[in-house]
Symmetry: none
Subunit: 414 residues, 2 copies
Amino acid sequence: MNCEVIAVGTELLLGQIVDTNSSYIGEQLALAGIDSHFQTKVGDNAARMKDAIELALSRSDAVILCGGLGPTQDDITRNVIADVMGVELETRQELVDKISAMFSQRGRAMPQNNLLQAQIPVGGEPIPIQPGTAPGLCCPIGDRVIYAVPGVPWEMTQMIDGFVLPDLSARAGITSVIASRVLRTWGMSESGLAEALHNEIERLDETGEATIAFLASGIEGLKVRITAKATTQAEVDIKLADEEARVRVIIGDEVIFGTDDDTMESVVVGLCRDQGLKLGLAESLTGGLIGQRITSHPGVSDVFQGSIVSYADSVKNDVLGIAGVPAISEEGAAAMAEGAARVLGAECSVAVTGVAGPTEAGGYKVGTVFMATHVDGVTEVLMVEWPFDRKRTREFTTITVLNQLRKRLLARST
Amino acid sequence: MNCEVIAVGTELLLGQIVDTNSSYIGEQLALAGIDSHFQTKVGDNAARMKDAIELALSRSDAVILCGGLGPTQDDITRNVIADVMGVELETRQELVDKISAMFSQRGRAMPQNNLLQAQIPVGGEPIPIQPGTAPGLCCPIGDRVIYAVPGVPWEMTQMIDGFVLPDLSARAGITSVIASRVLRTWGMSESGLAEALHNEIERLDETGEATIAFLASGIEGLKVRITAKATTQAEVDIKLADEEARVRVIIGDEVIFGTDDDTMESVVVGLCRDQGLKLGLAESLTGGLIGQRITSHPGVSDVFQGSIVSYADSVKNDVLGIAGVPAISEEGAAAMAEGAARVLGAECSVAVTGVAGPTEAGGYKVGTVFMATHVDGVTEVLMVEWPFDRKRTREFTTITVLNQLRKRLLARST
């Protein structure tokens, strides 16, 4: 089974948007054991889209089109698929109703244009999962199939994961199972990980038991991905568990903060919850980033109290009560953490202060950051000089200070 | 003149790396006035690479290959180009010398593998700009041309900007200038914008004076991009200014919050600065996102005081002083905004509170958000029921509440 991806949109060719959708779909196809040999970007042009689809159907069993399902004149994916299939478009009343309902829920009138989205090539079916106003399409053509999903990432991923991949696997009669486990790490560089795991990767190249790949992911840390293949889910699970155990011995448990969908935030919140601790923050150079990360997943309100984003020194003094201590200093960070715990009613807290730039401050150069953690009445401060730009400085500060708190909470529970 | 881009590398198809190189090259080609109708990703496979190159040469005047010029066995771009040209590879002594010198400068011995990089298809030439060990290639084939550049971004960009684009422009005899202007909007849906501008877009289709495209960009708002072409920069600037004026009349100035690199945050901070106002925030469901956005660019410390991220009701009561008012309500949002202004020492403030999920709260369903703005002692509250997931609810809340403040500050200054 072979599936190509065609990303549709002139804005992709012009580089106004980076095509991350094809990368996502390619990754999911690989994990599902479906080959993908070509991925194409094409503009909103009917003739060229038709050429691209016909070429893809000539060499692959399935094609996933991504984009061009919106309500504007540019959005012609529906029409081109109908043309390739040699059929007309028909308006589906159930889609008209669904789309109208979405607008009325928002208290807005539905523009006439959106009715175009209710049109489906005769012989095709809408994808049952529909997070937005654009229905996806599943259109058989001979022994091949064309899928179309919207270019909006949160709509695309739901349709790919929930419908397209299972449908493709069923068509392919796939019986082997491929699965991955990601070890989420922080504290070793990518080259350090590669060096530590060099011999193990060579061993796997020979035995074929599994593969290991690294992925530097900024604020998400460094991912070590283990992938294995077998005939049943149970066998794959055993292979993954075996390899995970080997990797843990080699790189050490301390740098592995979680697996798969764990994030540093979710792990820290989980530890706080287990230990019955409320968490508070004091943020200066991160400006709210740590709080935003912690609250990006639901269900943290039993642990997370809040954050005092003290950008101005007057807020550090008046709200956090650090008067008399330099705002950018080890003592400043410690006083901020203690102030946050007190003001927010939290048993543990973290605080960050430093020089995000553009210029030096407090006698420290750009990139200097003080990170404080406060648990059980004891405050510890770490100073780092990041060599990064503003964005990375803020991201690395966030994951690093939360990792400091994680290690202290782990030590506390043993 | 028509130029395709082919990104080479199995890791691109597998989604292990996002192909940002093609986006960069596509943007540069567009700015140079060279059409690019297709971009393809293909794996490190000789037969499929050959197919992709031959297809591209059949429909375009030029092809840029990106990747596969390294020293390993996977790197076969040189070989495939020679195959397409029907020639052999020859080793160029000047490249052997250059590559050896790069290694000896770093005090390292050159691995034998790197000698492969000194091979060039007969009839082709190395690209004179060579930042790393991989030479780029410029290979004429009939009246067409194949370029090859490395996949390493900082090597690729230097070769594209310094050699490929000027070479392509010279071949095309290009003398025209293309430029774009982006109008940043908030307050109309994409389909609403498309409907409003329908007639103008049809007029432009006929006259060719300019083109208009829409781009939905989440927390960045909806972008309306105007692109024009002329023989001099001055003429292009006039065309863009003319078209911008027309679009402003049609969709109204109110929804246009900025142009080009402006963001909602930068515009609001600029208005506060001009009016001598300090800004404070109170964030509940956004958890710090608004503060993080405002501080993501340097130089806001003269305006931005900070944010009280009051996730727990106790923080709303104790720090912001809203005791006695329901936390999720019109009065709650208003009291939070007033509390933030008072506690943070700010003349204007915004506050957001609502139900981010996963379950209903305070009698309101998931997605219900109250957004307050506070200026000159007057607080206004907007209630919205977003139909989105958590991420989009938080993003749309952020840009919407800042837009409310923007409109109030604008009204104030007139």
